[in-house]
Amino acid sequence: MRTLTHTLHSPAGCRNAHASHLQHPQSFHARRLNRAQRPASLQICCQAVATGTPPVKEGTSISNGAAKSKSKKISPEVATTLYRDMVLGREFEEMCAQMYYRGKMFGFVHLYSGQEAVSTGIIKAMRADDYICSTYRDHVHALSKGVPSRGIMAELFGKKTGICRGQGGSMHMFSKEHRMLGGFAFIGEGIPVGLGAAFRVKYQKDAVGDESADQVCASFFGDGTCNNGQFYECLNMASLYKLPCIFVVENNLWAIGMNHPRATGPSEGDTAPAIYKKGPAFGMPGVLVDGMDVLKVRQVAEEAVERARKGLGPTLIEAETYRFRGHSLADPDELRKKEEKAAWGARDPIPQFRKYALDEGLLTEQQIKDIDKDVQAEVEDAVQYADESPKPEKGQLLENVFADPKGFGIAANGSYRYQSPGFHSGNTAAID
């Protein structure tokens, strides 16, 4: 029903007009752009904060400032998983853009393209029974956690078969089965919710006495959120109660139109903001990682997960990344300089990892082609499924407002309103 454009293999990884503007680096401003331009070999892979708590793991990824280049070896199976997950994220999102412009989905749709190494790197280092908590940019987190692409696409199409029956939409993806706690549309509101899941794990272990409870919860949010009170409230509580939390800041430099250094003040002694430095201030490690490199993210994630699982408490990870598209599909994206976009586009995590996997002999050209094809087929199937799925019936209207429908109260005839004949056909007169 459509043609997939080759986003996967374009240097910028996106089909907006970013790719042809790699020149004029001298016009870049601020540290951010320098960071984007650093030669890969000099990029800080992940850096422990020198003060306060000990690093997540001494001498491996966490090395004070010194760049450790490639992380520990992975198996071909892991390489396949990581590559496929990133490609799926990208293809799914680019398909969303197409479907949005074709009028198949509406509202605010925030695409994740460019940030895949973070979702894949963190979530694929977690277990199926671990929890994640996301933001309004949540499709790809859900995919990485194993939520079927069919259900997510159908949700975006507003169909009955959507993962939330069409009642959530783009910014409210939930899956109890996959321990995906949402999909939270307002900045920062998911962070305390994720904290609650981590509290539940500790409670299960320490108050109920279930020794097997060792799940962790990763909460994702952006650089803009780190100026919100909920972030600080939760850093404090997570550290105070030693909760198994991983706070993942996806620093893509832009809170809609607000550039990160314009919104966030630097720590004492610095000239540019550094979110990861807020970890030690709250008694947890703060780790800076190249969010365009899935292996580096994965390594940091593995250490943070292990730490949380062992009951050693939370970790704050700042992943430096970039979104290749506007804030949402409704964003004209006029403020970000094309040079900046191009520089980040050149660091697209997918071609980067593909090259690595080929160079290291983890994947063959043929395997990569097969994965790409398989992903394309999955995304096309998701679209077809969503398109052909039935719309919600009116009967859904009054369902799921209350877990216990007694919450609708007692009608004039003395019975509970939900027992009225029209209730399950969505007749609102039933609750008058």
Binding site: L195, G196, N400, D404, G409, A412, Y416, I431
Partner: protein, 371 residues
């Protein structure tokens, strides 16, 4: 029950309440892990805070997923002692003292509820929960729906609210109006020792998010409780049967109305008094049966007149029972002003018994004049 001792807020009131009531509690709590708290307190009259405490204790004992979180709910025992010494029995994790961060710990409670706990989240003063409004509205209220029914949020949000005695505007909030339009939450207001315990027990067991209103001036009301009794959260209580006029009220206004009723009885007026209990949704069965009998309605509330409980209730009665009314619905609400500190101004802000008497006389006599 309206003595000054229980009208003082926070530290002062607490200190005073400790003098009055704490020794009594200590009698029941014989030591760590004591199980006799409930049994000993269950017999004989008790104060409302003790009844609420029993409700929490009994439900925590029955169900290991029931827990309490909030400011000073543990070691301090709650600002109005509702969780007094329970941490000794259940430990610091089940009686979780949180930092002062309402939005943070409310969200934590919601996340814990989504993943299998039944948290009771206390607002040290209900007004503080305005800082948690986003979590209560977006997540407690709407998340069951937006998740397509996948996640439940069985949380009880409770605490002292209403207009106390000269606590100043911020500690004298009338929050019902703010919370009532949140979809997916139920609002419950307790008013007696018996219903406080039975309703709180039901609220803890409910799978819905319940916002549970306790009135700051009612914690030292005395009364009996029924053992092992759970009361429907959705059902109103008929406090006094009568034929001349239906007076709908809730929380502390129940006592203001009952004071007025004594005067009305002397004047030969026979009002029916209904305590709404459920502020959202309304029990239209009890209300309409009464309205059809008396054909006249006075709503007495502490809530704001604009956008308040009375506003919603009046609209529902007009829509559903217009033909059964002989007089327009009369609303006695608190004034749309911040609650002043000065005694006289505060008194002028909230409804007084004389206003209820006057309204009832007017509405009943007008009817008599027509007859």
């Amino acid at each position: 029950m309206q003595g000054r001792s229980c009208g003082l807020c926070g530290q002062t009131r607490f200190a005073e309440a400790r003098l009055v009531a704490a020794p009594k509690t200590r009698r029941h709590v014989s030591g760590r892990n004591s199980r006799c708290i409930t049994r000993a307190a269950a017999s004989g009259p008790k104060l409302m805070w003790e009844a609420l405490r029993e409700a929490v204790d009994e439900e925590m004992e029955k169900d290991p997923t029931v827990c309490v979180m909030g400011e000073d709910v543990g070691h301090y025992g709650g600002s109005y002692k509702v969780t007094y010494d329970l941490y000794k029995k259940y430990g610091d994790l089940r009686l979780l003292d949180t930092p002062i961060c309402e939005n943070g710990f409310m969200g934590m409670g919601i996340g814990a509820a989504m993943t299998g706990l039944r948290p009771i989240v206390e607002g040290m003063n209900m007004g503080f929960l305005l800082l948690a409004y986003n979590q209560i509205s977006n997540n407690a209220g709407m998340l069951h729906y937006t998740s397509g029914g996948q996640f439940k949020v069985p949380i009880v949000v409770r605490g002292p609210g209403g207009v106390g005695r000269q606590l100043g505007a911020e500690h004298s909030q009338r929050l019902e109006s703010y919370f009532q339009s949140i979809p997916g939450v139920q609002l419950v207001a307790c008013s007696t020792v018996a219903n406080a315990k039975a309703l709180l027990k039901s609220a803890i067991r409910s799978d819905n998010p319940i916002i549970f209103f306790e009135h700051v001036l009612l914690y030292n009301v005395k009364g009996e409780t029924n053992d092992n009794y759970y009361q429907d959260l959705e059902r109103a209580e008929v406090v006094r049967q009568g034929k001349d006029v239906t007076i709908l009220c809730y929380s502390r206004m129940r006592y203001v109305v009952l004071q007025a009723v004594q005067e009305l009885e002397k004047q030969g007026i026979d009002p029916e008094v209904i305590d709404l209990i459920s502020l959202k949704p309304f029990d239209m069965h009890t209300i309409s049966a009464s309205v059809k009998k008396t054909r006249r309605v006075i709503i007495v509330e502490e809530c704001m007149k604009t956008g308040g409980i009375g506003a919603s209730l009046s609209a529902q009665i007009n829509e559903a029972l217009f033909d059964d009314l002989d007089h327009q619905v009369v609303r006695l609400s608190s004034q749309d002003v911040p609650t002043a500190y000065a005694y006289e101004l505060e008194a002028a802000t909230i409804v007084q018994p004389e206003q209820v008497v006057e309204a009832a006389q007017k509405i009943v006599q007008k009817q008599m004049a027509y007859a």
